[in-house]
């Protein structure tokens, strides 16, 4: 719309008259009386007074629309917090995810350090071993019977109690075994070596005399002491 090429030229007389008419128009638009007798001032007044106003119906309809627009807009005007609600939720979600990821990463690093970061001196010499010892811990569970006096019945609830005992653990230096070729050991049976044989008993073991005797043991003679 802008006519940037303002190569407008006017003669000095035309420019002076144009400026004079411009001042007349300014007075005309302000509702002031015209001072000059230029015929163009009369034309300007006629142009100014052309019937170019909206009809009362159009004005009334416009006012109703404006009321409807801005009353609805006022109701729908979101607060600053609501306007940026989704942005805030997204930001908080991002921060939360980042914190969780960071915590998991740190936890992974602390609990499972990389192999290269193992320091044998920091490894414990002993590792607790867990043995399961079932113990029964009675728990009191009151049950209500038909009588008015509650009775307590003990229901044994088996629980597992973990007892840690220390068991020697080889040090980390022992765990890390260099991948060096090992000498191969060929196991050859030597003739001198006793061959493990499994021999089945041909005869059942001989029972002892006590076991073999079916008769009850004879009572030993009790020699009564003689007076002689």
């Amino acid at each position: 719309m802008s006519d940037k090429a303002d190569n407008f030229s006017a003669t000095p007389g035309e420019q002076a008259r144009a400026d004079q008419i411009s001042e007349e128009i300014t007075r005309l638009m302000r509702g002031q009386p015209l001072t000059g007798a230029d015929p163009l001032s009369t034309i300007a007044r006629e142009v100014r007074t052309l019937p170019a106003d909206p009809s009362p119906d159009a004005v009334r309809e416009f006012n109703q629309r404006v009321d409807r627009w801005f009353s609805a807009a006022g109701r729908r005007q979101p607060s600053t917090l609501r306007r940026y609600r989704f942005s805030l939720i997204a930001a908080w979600a991002t921060i939360l995810v980042a914190l969780i990821a960071g915590a998991l990463f740190i936890r992974t690093i602390v609990l499972n350090p990389p192999v290269g970061a193992l320091t044998p001196t920091t490894l414990p010499k002993t590792l607790p071993s867990i043995t399961q010892t079932p113990t029964v811990t009675p728990s009191a569970r009151p049950t209500t019977t038909g009588s008015s006096t509650p009775s307590q019945t003990f229901t044994p609830t088996p629980t597992l109690t973990l007892t840690a005992t220390h068991r020697p653990l080889p040090s980390a230096t022992q765990l890390i075994v260099p991948l060096t070729p090992r000498p191969t050991i060929h196991l050859q049976p030597t003739p001198e070596a006793p061959q493990p044989t499994v021999s089945e008993p041909t005869e059942p073991p001989q029972p002892t005399e006590r076991q073999q005797s079916t008769e009850p043991p004879q009572p030993t003679e009790v020699h009564a002491p003689t007076d002689s």
């Binding site: 006017a10 638009m29 034309i43 300007a44 006629e46 052309l50 009362p56 416009f62 404006v66």
Partner: protein
């Protein structure tokens, strides 16, 4: 002052008449002017949150919207080359309630003057509409159209001369 603190409803009401007059000076029918004015304010309502009072006055802002909308209408109308039935000025004056100022003007003179306005170029007619319809000063028109202020005065002066010549020819023809 931000856009949320402005009473746009009041601004719309304050500028309705000037916008309508600007549109009416650029088009030939009241009904078209009313429709276009409604559309202009509808566009302004949709974009009112983007209005920045530090950058431009509301009259400039709404004037820009009106200028673009009317120009688009005139361009599309000329492209369609549709035949428009233009109410005679007599019918138009009967159908509208004349303002007190309009009652002072002879009806025949009004008809001639509207007819002569149609003969102006688009640029001259727009500047006449901005000056007499929207009541924008030469400086504001110059800023809006990218012209020098004194050039606007000369354009208005020459347009008025053409209108006077047109009126004289019409009187001689009658």
């Amino acid at each position: 002052m931000s856009a949320t603190q402005i009473d746009f409803a009041q601004l719309f009401r304050d500028h309705y008449h000037s916008v309508y007059r600007y549109v009416r000076y650029r088009v030939d029918e009241d009904s078209v002017a009313e429709d276009l004015t409604s559309e202009i304010f509808e566009r302004a309502f949709r974009a009112h949150t983007t209005f920045n009072p530090q950058r431009a006055a509301f009259s400039t802002w709404i004037g820009q919207i009106a200028h673009n909308h009317v120009t688009n209408y005139l361009v599309s109308r000329s492209r369609r080359q549709a035949h428009e039935f233009v109410l005679s000025e007599t019918e138009r004056l009967v159908s509208t309630e004349p303002t007190p100022e309009a009652q002072l003007v002879n009806r025949e003179a009004v008809q001639r003057l509207w007819g002569c306005l149609k003969l102006l170029s688009d640029r001259d007619r727009e500047i006449i509409a901005l000056r007499f319809g929207a009541d924008i000063g030469n400086k504001g028109i110059a800023e809006q159209l990218g012209l020098k202020e004194r050039s606007v005065g000369v354009i208005i002066f020459r347009a008025l001369e053409r209108l006077r010549g047109c009126q004289e020819r019409e009187q001689e023809r009658i």
